[in-house]
Structures are given as structure tokens and as C-alpha cells.
């Protein structure tokens, strides 16, 4: 396969009056883990649905494994595996039955299906539960089976749509380990959507941050955090009417920046300025309810680019958009 594993240019998807994806350009190299980070309703799943041919784009183009997602759908589908937001499982079938069905549907030879099912059950740690019906599985087990199903036909490109949402920390870590191994040892290209900062930070070689259907920032986690720069100090005065006075005091120590609950500055030098800020606030007799030092995080990147934090942005999107029906326009 020549060229990027995944590329999109001006990708748009409109649902009735909602532009869920509003002009996305991206390029993912072979063997890369690309993290697509954004709040609920940002357009992550819609983008994945278009790249996996489940939804036709309203405008723009996309190529996956070198094939056009609109004109060469069957070729795209044979090159990819996908574990989507809902673990799409039949509660009445066992894990092993799922894998053998998937192997059959993907065209694997009859004699290899059983072996492949056994191999994948072992790989995701479900060998003992393989002959139990899926309705008896925990959330983490369902997610692992979902990942196994996506790998049945050994795809070169894997789409994972919020794979660890709702999982406990142990299950999440186990899934991260397997995803990292797939990319490292098997050279699989992984396109991972997530609303968890830590997941993008730990797993992704490069991160694209999406908000309101646009990519607002893109780069390695280190590049993105460095772009926000130095640590910030956030001050929340006890008296809400003291915001302006607090802002004036701390402005002596750095550049003012966005803050959801109080006032904040990006420090000129380092955390050493924190003591100076405390002394200055104390000297002005300004009572403080909260004072926090923030090292740059991907949430700070999101905040710098959009004026909102990732968590708050998710709740706001849910209120504004309600149920976004995945119906064709």
C-alpha cells in the first residue's frame, strides 16, 4: 500500500440542519496510532462511520488503505477492522460462535475458522469464557470480544471508536496494552477515537483534537502540550466580585489566559512563581477559595483552542444537540 493508510480532505457530513463533521483534513501513516480526541458530539464517531463506509460523506473525499470510501467500499471494508462505539454483539451467541460467524462472513476458509477463534479468544483473555453466551459477559469482556472480532481477518487498519468508555481501570489498561502491541509488533495502523485525555496521551503517537466537527489542533501529545507552553496558575477568589482584582494581581506574573471558574495566568518562567503569587495575593489581603498549579495537558490545549475544557464541552454538546440521529440526509 503506497501513501497514507488513512487520508481525508474536506470531509463533511450533514444531518438535516446539523453539520456534524465540517471539513476534516487528516492523514494517518501506516503503523501509526492516531488518537482522535474530542468531547461528546464533536463528530468523532461520525468521522469513523464515514471512514469505515458506514455513512457516505456529504462532501469531501477520504481514502482508506488507498481505496476511495465512496467508490471502492468493498475494498475498504476488506482492509479494515472496526470496533465501534457500541459493542455490537448478539447476547444469545457465545464468544466462540461470534468469532466463527465473523470468520465465515469474512471469507476465511472453513478449516481455519476454529483455529482463528481459539487464537483470538486466547489473545484477548477470553478462552475460559469462550463458550458462554455474551449476555453473561461483563462490559470489559464484551469490549475485548469486540476487539477480537475486529481482528478476525487480520486487517491492516483498525478503527476503535471509544473502546474503553465505561470500563474499569484494569480492563482499560489491558485493552491499551493489546492496542499498543498490535501497532508495535504487527504494524497495524490504529485510528482511535476517545474522550479520555489519558488514553490519547498514553496510546497515540499523534493526536487530532476535534470540536464542533473541525480539527482544532493536531500533533504529537508533546508538541500539543508544548504549544500551550508553560504551567498555568488558576485562582478562584472567595468573593466572586474580586475576580478583577485577582486578575490584576496575578497578571504581574504572566500572561492572562482562559479559566472556567476564576482567573488564570500562564507563568513567565516556572512553578517558582507560584510562591510569589501567594505572597502577592496575601499582601493585597485577597481571600482565595482555590489556587491551583496546572501543568499543560491536552485539556489545556483544548481550552486554549476553544475556550472550553474537554469535560464541560461534552456536557454542553449533549444539551445542544440532543440525540443525534445517524440518519442519512
Amino acid at each position: 500500500m503506497e501513501g497514507p493508510a488513512i487520508e481525508a480532505e474536506g470531509l463533511v457530513r450533514v444531518f438535516k440542519k446539523t453539520r456534524a463533521v465540517d471539513g476534516i483534513d487528516l492523514s494517518v501513516e501506516t503503523g501509526e496510532i492516531y488518537g482522535f480526541l474530542g468531547p461528546n458530539g464533536a463528530g468523532k464517531s461520525t468521522t469513523v462511520h464515514m471512514l469505515t463506509t458506514l455513512l457516505p460523506p456529504t462532501a469531501g473525499t477520504a481514502r482508506v488503505a488507498g481505496y476511495d470510501v465512496v467508490r471502492q467500499g468493498p475494498q475498504v471494508r476488506s482492509s479494515i477492522g472496526a470496533a465501534l462505539q457500541e459493542a455490537a454483539l448478539d447476547p444469545l451467541l457465545t464468544g466462540r460462535e461470534h468469532l466463527r460467524l465473523q470468520a465465515s462472513l469474512q471469507g476465511l476458509p472453513h478449516e481455519t475458522r476454529r483455529q482463528r477463534a481459539d487464537e483470538l479468544l486466547h489473545r484477548v483473555g477470553l478462552s475460559e469464557a469462550g463458550d458462554r453466551k455474551v449476555k453473561t459477559y461483563s462490559g470489559g469482556m464484551k469490549r475485548r470480544l469486540d476487539l477480537a472480532l475486529a481482528l478476525v481477518h487480520s486487517p491492516r487498519i483498525l478503527f476503535l471508536d471509544e473502546p474503553t468508555t465505561g470500563l474499569d481501570i484494569q480492563s482499560r489498561t489491558a485493552l491499551w496494552d493489546e492496542v499498543a502491541r498490535l501497532a508495535r509488533d504487527d504494524g497495524v495502523t490504529v485510528f482511535l477515537t476517545t474522550q479520555y485525555l489519558e488514553e490519547a496521551d498514553v496510546l497515540a503517537g499523534r493526536v487530532g483534537i476535534i470540536d464542533h466537527g473541525h480539527i482544532v489542533a493536531e500533533g504529537t501529545p508533546e508538541e500539543l502540550k508544548a504549544s500551550v507552553g508553560r504551567p498555568t496558575v488558576e485562582v478562584v477568589p472567595t468573593d466572586p466580585d474580586e475576580h478583577e482584582r485577582a486578575a490584576a494581581i496575578i497578571a504581574r506574573f504572566g500572561e492572562p489566559c482562559g479559566s472556567e471558574h476564576g482567573v488564570a495566568v500562564r507563568l513567565r518562567s516556572s512553578e517558582a512563581d507560584l510562591a510569589g503569587i501567594v505572597r502577592a495575593l496575601d499582601a493585597e489581603n485577597l481571600k482565595v477559595e482555590q489556587l491551583q498549579l496546572h501543568q499543560p495537558s491536552l485539556d489545556d490545549v483544548f481550552l486554549a483552542k476553544t475556550g472550553r475544557s474537554l469535560e464541560g464541552a461534552g456536557e454542553e454538546e449533549e444539551e445542544q444537540s440532543g440525540d443525534l440521529a445517524m440518519e442519512p440526509v
Binding site: L54, L84, L89, D90, L105, L149
Partner: protein, 248 residues
Amino acid sequence: MLARRSVVRTLRQPAAVIAPLVFPMLLLAVNSGGLKSETQLPGFPTSSFFAFALAVPFIQGALFSTMNAGTDLARDIQTGFLNRLTLTPMRRLAVLGGQLGGVVTLGLLQAVVYLTVGLAVGVHFASGPLGVLVLGVFTLVISLAFGALGTLAALRTGSGEAVQGLFPAFFVFLFISSMNIPRNLIQITWFRDAATLNPVSYLIECVRSLIITGWDAEALALGFGIAAAIAVVGLALSSQALKVRMAR
């Protein structure tokens, strides 16, 4: 494999298997007891009301096919399993056919049970062993036909609840038919006209003719023709609805 999955999951849902077997038999027993004096009406085609009414469970069972096929597919849509099938090389019609495999199998199982009960009670099958085979084929066609209607409802609504909401509507079609009395003996004009226009009447009469008449070419032609037409239209519309769902 998809058809096998459909069969397996149908058989693993006791309610989906028992209700289509038990409910029609209960209704048959109740009606046979309560309406047996109908056989005294001049022109009634048989002296056994049980033989007359035995045709109804075959059609009633087909209605359950509608519900089973529809709710199963709606569940696949809601859980995202249909998306999983979309991401495989499977063709649309194969996906549809696979979904209907379990429904058709259950339909044949139902037919065997109804026939066994009928023979055990002493019903004489006028068309003989060949008629039983024809009845098996007819059962297959109507299971497919009504199953296709269920899948169409599921694909258009994406909701199991919406599919189940159709059940009362289908039952109206069953009751306003020649279910309990031959059309030519219905005295109420509007009811007779409605039953004459109702395609379900001809499905019932097709089965009934094999049981109590023997070989009635007109009844067989109408029954098979209407069942086939419902199947073809249902499958065509379902295929189109599936195309929209799968966005191919």
C-alpha cells in the same frame, strides 16, 4: 452461517418458540368448542369444526414469524450488529436471507406441530400425503412472506417496540377474514366484503382446502399467488430499506 445464527438464536429464546406453538392451539381449542354448532349451518363444508379451523394456526403462526423476524432485526439495528454485518463482504440479499432463516425454520416446526395435533385429534387430511408436502411448501412461503414484512418494519423503524406494535394490526386482518366461517356464509355484508378483500382469507382457504376439500385448484392458486406476492413485495421493499440502512 447467518441463517444458522438466526436458527440458533430463535431456538434459544423460549418465548419465541413456545408462544407461536401454544397460543394458536389454545385459540383453536377455544373456538372449536365455542363455534362447533356452525357445522349445522346449511352449506358448511365439513362436519368437523376442528378440521375447518385447523387452517388458522398455520396463518397465525406466520404472524408470529413477522414479530420474531422484525424484533430480531430491530435488536441487531439497535445493538449495532447490523453495522458489523455491513462491514463484511456479504451482499444485501444474503444478509436478509440469513435473518429470515430462523423464522422459516420455526415456521416449518410450527406446521409439524399443528399437523400432528390435528391428526391426533382425528382430522382426516383430504389431500393425503402429497397435500402435506404442499402444505409444508406453503408454510415455508408464508413464513418467508410475513417474515419479510417484519424485517421491513424493523428496517424502516429500527425499533423492536414499533414492530411489536404491528401485532394488533395484523390480528385485525386475521379476525376480519374467513377465519371462523366460510365467506359465502357470512350474513353481514360489510364483514363479508371485507373478508373477500382481505388477502388473509385466501391464505386460510388455501390451507383449509388441503385439509377438508382435497385438491382445489382455485384455492391453491389464490393462496400460493398471494403468499408469493407478499413475499416478493416484502423482500423487495426490505432489500431497499436495507440498502438505505447500510448506506451502500
